[in-house]
């Protein structure tokens, strides 16, 4: 295919189909936030280090500041807005609230996506597995302990003291 500076892409985000023209230089995170007004996913670092922009693309967890929006053509994307339904929190989100797993909340959307990806693949993760699963997500507030507890609780496990 011939190189183009802009293309029309079709994506499914949280079950809604969108068709939009995007510039090739636009990152997926900006497409989600600025073009689709899905501002749940955050930009923390813009260097692939913090994970605040994490989303699932065709079921695969990635950092949406490290992908061009044009690369997402034809894919199905899940963002934090796609968790829960009808204004109700899902079990993981509720566990975050119950266990004080967020303070400022900036990292939370990415943290929730990483934890969802983990629980889909490993319904009863150990503490070590939880910690490794959220390694790509930086939280400057909680010290991670309550996040680990929330994921343990959401997976029906005893919460470590």
């Amino acid at each position: 295919m011939t190189p183009e500076t802009a293309r029309t892409i079709a994506v499914d985000v949280n079950g809604v189909s969108y068709e939009r023209e995007v510039e090739a230089r636009k990152l997926l995170i900006h497409f989600l936030r600025d073009d689709l007004d899905l501002t749940g996913s955050h930009v923390g670092c813009d260097t692939g280090n913090c994970g605040a922009c994490s989303v699932l693309l065709d079921g695969v967890l990635l950092k949406s500041c490290m992908l061009l929006a044009v690369q997402a053509d034809g894919t199905s994307i899940r963002t934090v807005e796609g968790l829960g339904s009808d204004g109700e929190l899902d079990a993981l989100q509720q566990a975050f609230a119950d266990h004080h797993a967020l303070q400022c909340g900036y990292c939370t959307p990415g943290m929730l996506m990483s934890a969802s990806w983990l629980l889909e693949r490993n319904p009863r993760p150990s503490e070590e597995e939880i910690r490794r699963a959220i390694q790509g997500n930086i939280c400057r507030c909680t010290g991670y302990v309550n996040i680990v507890r929330a994921v343990q609780a959401a997976s029906g496990q005893e919460v470590s003291e």
Binding site: M1, T2, P3, E4, T5, R7, E23, A24, R25, K26, L27, D46, T47, G48, G51, S54, V60, L61, L62, K63, C65, M66, L67, L68, V70, Q71, S114, W117, R131, R132, A133, Q135, G136, N137
Partner: protein, 269 residues
């Protein structure tokens, strides 16, 4: 971050990709993007055209030959290597890939991108040299193979030149391998890393993070003293930076080389 204006192409075949890369001076292959997209944000490089290799099935996947040789497509991700049953034929591959960065980076980053970017702190350049890998490179003129130890030419420079693609990394059969590193965090970027293999004669000990390219050292034996002495005799001139002074890196190179060889010996028996 707004990138500089760029053209995007998603070729349908490796042939088309190579043609595009050769036609346009400012064209760059886009693999996992876990280095290139950052480079474009920082405008350290601003390609005119990015040639997206995602979607080229020819470049994906791992094949295990009857003699135990592994053919790994350049676009195979770290996660795919970690989870591949075939790749377990040489277990060190999955073990090292599991230590790279974090889940998100491992889901996107590719073996081809890791070696082609040849960031001196990357995990895979020393590993493929230690394992005696062979790199298959395709250009418009055809295909050639280069031994891994001749592939790395300088920081961010490899034998896969402009207009060329790395298509396959071939890893021979073996099992007596070890890897030891001092990462900055629990996993991820290393201050020094060392890969070692005892398959195929004298030990191959390869030190990463200490020079522009992985440094191959051939101690006479796998005894601790021989390994330590050979690394010392290599006269490494590692960088001094916020993570460690050069002197400490030199010390680490010796210690980690001994550990990597010990791990390889355990596997051999």
């Amino acid at each position: 971050m707004l990138l500089r204006e760029v053209e995007y192409a998603r070729p349908a075949s490796v042939g088309d990709a190579v043609r595009l890369l050769a036609e346009r001076d400012g064209a760059r292959a886009l693999a996992g993007g876990q280095t290139l997209v950052n480079v474009m944000k920082a405008r350290a490089a601003s390609p005119d055209v990015v040639v997206d290799l995602n979607g080229l099935e020819e470049l994906k996947g791992i094949e295990l030959g009857p003699d135990g040789t592994l053919e790994i497509g350049a676009m195979t991700t770290y996660t795919e290597i970690v989870e591949s049953a075939e790749a377990r034929a040489r277990p060190i591959l999955g073990e090292v890939c599991a230590q790279i960065a974090d889940v998100q980076v491992r889901n996107r980053g590719t073996i081809g991108g890791n070696v082609c970017s040849n960031d001196p702190t990357n995990h895979l350049p020393p590993l493929v040299v230690a394992l005696g890998g062979t790199m298959t490179i395709r250009g418009t003129g055809g295909e050639r193979t280069v031994p891994a130890e001749e592939f790395f030419l300088g920081v961010y420079m490899t034998a896969a030149g402009p207009g060329e693609l790395l298509t396959t990394v071939t890893i021979p059969a073996g099992k007596a391998d070890g890897f030891a590193s001092l990462p900055i965090g629990r996993d991820g970027t290393c201050i020094v890393n060392v890969a070692a293999s005892l398959d195929g004669g004298a030990p191959r000990v390869v030190v990463g993070c200490v020079d522009a390219v992985p440094v191959l050292v051939r101690p006479e034996s796998a005894e601790d003293d021989a390994v330590r002495g050979a690394v010392r005799a290599a006269g490494l001139q590692p960088p001094d930076d916020v993570h460690a002074p050069a002197e400490y890196r030199r010390h680490l190179a010796e210690v980690l080389a001994v550990r990597a060889v010990r791990a390889a010996k355990e596997r051999a028996s």
